[in-house]
């Protein structure tokens, strides 16, 4: 009997089917890798498993040791032996290792914590796991790799039988990865079942017993690792036809609108760590340049740096229309005709409590109104114009953006940048989390902009989107340019190979 069985799991978000009947199982002491493109449904599936999405909000059954379980919250899932380690660590940096391990389950009498027990049990646990950590040290003073180990210790203090690891090695150095893998092998030998989500196929093949590939919320295959190879996995990951939601348009290319030379950007939190490493590229008027790659490859960081918005150290040269320019702030970038539809509209794009008008005129306010005074009527006209051309469905320009659907919110962000009349437009994940209808409308707008001579640079984790829209595709892997493909030669496999850093295609 499998340790865990997930049967026909379905999960819908407004307008999006995130999981469409996924079946998955895990045995004792098994290392089961879960792979797929961004947005394939891996994280959603794990959130269903761990009670983040409570029972009743999804379809299908979760069985542990053959028994159907209903998790109403994370705690219940933990009690059933499921521990999940998310990409973003959930440790309290100000507390010690031991305090973190026992957070929420401190041994206590009448609310008074028994500190000797906390520290002695932590020390014992860390020793059992062969983790070379001092339980009294503050977590914030540990490196990311060691913090990851604390997470694992914390998970196992709950007597976890099932350990879910979501991209655990994304931020680790090679030797830290080695330490982690040694510990995972040890856990495996003790019968802990592990679900391992990763984009790094090398790791997946080195560690896993079985591999399940998800695509578009569906499981497209579960096979023994021995029966698979990387090419097979990649073709399963991308093996979907690029549908006809991409209008077949060819763009007329003009002169070079923007050229970037030797762009390098450092992590603001980790001194010396390069997130973008010596990247050079250019984009022509009327061209759609797609930037592919996996999360954390340095794509958003590149755009942020060019736009003058990167908080970390960065260097490189920028040429707009052949002239060297200095962009020290987003205001400079806008001045030089660069617009930036940022990722994560709720965090970076919109002021959710304010109206469509307030949001859509924000970046181009001086252009629309004037340097000092606002001009209500002109702003209203401008807002109505973009709402009409982008088909924003809302009562009026005074509708609060927080009440709009994701697609309409995204259109407001796009509209904001159209009102700056950009010559170069950056788009970072422009269709993340919106439904197909709105996606199509945004694609049509991108083509329209290109046709009018705007140079477009689009970062997207959705491969079909990049392949369908872009005239040329650049691929980044760990901050470096690892591939460049013209539309005619690009295939999902080639892009994925470059994105996973499997082989270097010289550019």
């Amino acid at each position: 009997m499998p340790l865990l069985e997930m049967r026909e799991i379905k999960k819908e978000f407004p307008g999006v089917k995130a999981l469409d009947g996924v079946t998955f199982d895990l045995h004792e002491g098994e290392f089961h890798a879960l792979v797929g493109e961004n947005g394939a449904g891996k994280s959603t599936l794990m959130k269903v498993l761990s009670g983040v999405y409570p029972f009743g909000t999804y379809g299908g059954d979760i069985l542990i040791d053959g028994e159907v379980k209903h998790f109403h919250n994370i705690r219940q899932a933990e009690d059933a032996g499921i521990a999940i380690i998310f990409q973003e660590l959930s440790l309290v940096k100000e507390l010690t290792v031991a305090e973190n391990i026992f957070l929420g389950q401190e041994p206590s009498r009448f609310g008074v914590i028994n500190w000797s027990e906390v520290y002695s049990r932590s020390a014992k646990l860390l020793k059992e796991l062969n983790l070379p950590l001092n339980p009294r040290i503050q977590v914030g003073r540990l490196g990311i790799g060691q913090q990851q180990l604390v997470e694992i210790a914390k998970a196992l203090s709950h007597k976890a039988k099932i350990l879910v690891l979501d991209e655990p090695t994304a931020a680790l150095t090679e030797s830290e990865v080695e330490t982690l893998f040694a510990i995972l092998r040890d856990l495996k030998s003790r019968g802990v079942g592990m679900i391992y989500i990763s984009h790094k196929l090398d790791e997946v093949f080195a560690m896993s017993d079985r591999i399940t590939v998800l695509r578009d919320g569906r499981s497209v295959g579960t096979e023994s690792t021995l029966a698979l190879d990387k090419d097979k996995v990649i073709s399963l990951m991308v093996g979907r036809e690029v549908g006809d939601i991409f209008p077949k348009t060819t763009h007329d290319l003009g002169d070079i609108a923007l050229e970037v030379r030797n762009l390098t950007a450092f992590d603001p939190d980790v001194p010396g760590k390069k997130l973008v490493d010596d990247v050079s590229f250019s984009v022509r008027k009327g061209e759609v340049l797609g930037i592919g790659g996996l999360m954390g490859a340095g794509r958003s960081e590149s755009l942020m740096s060019i736009f003058g918005a990167w908080r970390g150290q960065h260097s490189g040269e920028l040429y707009v229309d052949g002239k060297k320019v200095d962009v020290a702030s987003p205001a400079d970038a806008i001045e030089h005709g660069i617009g930036f539809v940022t990722e994560d509209r709720k965090r970076f794009g919109l002021i959710l409590g304010q109206t469509i008008l307030d949001n859509s005129t924000l970046a181009g306010l001086r252009r629309i109104s004037g340097a000092f005074l606002t001009h209500r009527s002109r702003e209203t006209v401008a807002t109505q114009r973009v709402m009409r051309s982008l088909r924003v469905k809302a009562g009026s320009p005074l509708t609060i953006t927080g009440t709009l659907s994701g697609g309409n919110q995204q259109k407001v962000v796009l509209g904001k940048w159209l009102l700056t009349e950009p010559k170069v437009l950056f788009l970072d994940e422009p269709t993340r989390g919106i439904d197909v209808g709105a996606k199509q409308e945004i694609y049509a707008e991108i083509n329209k902009l290109a046709a009018s001579g705007v140079a477009i640079v689009m970062v997207s984790s959705e491969l079909p989107e990049v392949l369908g829209l872009a005239d040329r595709i650049l691929v980044l892997h760990e901050g470096k340019l690892t591939g460049e493909f013209m539309k005619t030669e690009a295939t999902p496999e080639k892009v994925m190979v470059a994105a996973t850093g499997e082989s270097k295609v010289m550019v």
């Binding site: 970076f348 304010q354 924000l362 306010l365 002109r378 009562g395 009440t403 709009l404 659907s405 309409n408």
Partner: protein, 384 residues
């Protein structure tokens, strides 16, 4: 098109108009209550004139504070700064022998310089405004004690004292009323015309003018009531001018719009090309200027600069903003609300004193009302 879900249910939209009416309603209830309790002695021209004068100093500060809070910041130093700017103006007059204008300018310059300093530390050194201005609260009071040797500085300059204690001649009041009414109608006309020009709305100029009757009538009534006593008190005139300036800044300038944007989502504002730091520096300086002006009014009203002038004023100003519907998280609030909040606070002070409520009870009641006002607001905002 699968996207039919236009407005998510359970998301309650704050309508600023509704909120303004609620506050006006609360004010009317407070006035009726005290009128009844004082034996018809509250809503009289004399008391309303006093009440407005009492509102002025807090009101002027609250308007600047509103802009700081809207930008997601706070300023706890305004009470001490009021004392400092007042002391400087009194020293200019009494000890240094300068004239009225120099004394006024000195107070305002002190306000601006302090505002720039604090704003600079907040914006460019990323020290939280709470800390910077808490330090200011302590330090500026210390400076007051230092420059006055901890003693009261009397002011004898009559022109200066008139700023706080005199009234506008009723005829001038009526001229202002006339100008005010003309202004209201002109603005309504201009707005309707602009809308028509840009093909927005009905563009019905007649309807717009009819809508302007209510504010016009309010102006006339206000001047009538003030003139029935002694005319518009000078502090009230200054308060109204500052309110107009504040209203204009928040509604009609790019600077004002950026304040709301930064307070609403500073990251989105930054990525939209706004120089957040510069805006924050400016808004602190602006508040400083208003505090300097309020210090002139305050010193003139009292006829002297005392060591503890303005103590706890920062809390009055913040309370006025909050009662007026300003979110301490930033991004939300109106000048009208802040003024109304200041008027509500002053009405409570005035009313409770006139029914001889004991001082300790007054404090307790004001505290309870502040918390309840925000509490009711949060309940109203809670998604159902």
């Amino acid at each position: 098109m699968s996207e039919t879900l236009e407005e998510k249910k359970g998301f309650k939209i704050e309508t600023p108009a509704l909120r303004a009416y609620t506050m006006l309603g609360a004010l009317v209830l407070i006035w009726i209550f005290f009128h009844w309790q004082t034996g018809n002695n509250f809503v009289t021209p004399e008391n309303l004139s006093n009440l407005m004068t009492q509102t002025s100093v807090t009101g002027i500060i609250a308007i600047g504070m509103l802009m700081v809070i809207v930008a997601g910041q706070i300023d706890l130093s305004v009470g001490s700064l009021l004392g400092l700017a007042g002391a400087v103006s009194a020293i200019f007059l009494t000890d240094l022998g300068y004239g009225t204008v120099a004394a006024i300018l000195a107070a305002i310059v002190v306000g601006i310089v302090v505002g720039l300093l604090q704003g600079f530390l907040v914006a460019y050194f990323s020290i939280p405004a709470f800390i910077v201005t808490l330090g200011g609260l302590l330090a500026w009071r210390g400076v007051v004690k230092g420059i006055t040797n901890s003693s009261t500085v009397p002011v004898s300059d009559l022109a200066f004292i008139d700023i706080g204690q005199s009234y506008l001649h009723p005829t001038v009041g009526w001229i202002l009323a006339l100008l005010g009414v003309a202004f209201v109608f002109f603005m309504a006309f201009r707005r309707a015309k602009s809308q028509k020009e840009y093909g927005l709305g009905e563009g019905n100029i007649g309807a717009a003018l009819i809508k302007a009757i209510l504010p016009a009538a309010a102006i006339v009534l206000f001047i009538y009531v003030m003139n029935s006593y002694a005319g518009i008190p000078n502090p009230v005139l200054i308060f109204l001018i500052v309110a107009l300036v504040g209203f204009f800044i928040t509604n009609n300038t790019t600077f004002g719009r950026y304040l709301y944007a930064i307070g609403g989502n500073s990251e989105a504002a930054r990525l939209s090309g706004i120089n957040n730091r510069m805006i924050i520096l400016k808004v602190f300086a602006l508040l400083g200027a208003f505090v300097g002006l309020a210090a002139v009014v305050n010193t003139a009203r009292l006829g002297s600069a005392t060591v503890d002038a303005g103590a706890l004023k920062e809390l009055d100003a913040i309370a006025a903003c909050v009662i007026g519907g300003t979110s301490l998280m930033g991004g939300q609030g109106t000048v009208f609300g802040a003024c109304l909040g200041a008027l509500i606070m002053a009405s409570l002070d005035n009313g409770m004193s006139s029914i001889n409520l004991e001082s300790y009870l007054q404090d307790i009641i004001k505290g309870v009302i502040l918390v309840s006002a925000v509490g009711l607001d949060m309940i109203g905002k809670r998604p159902t």
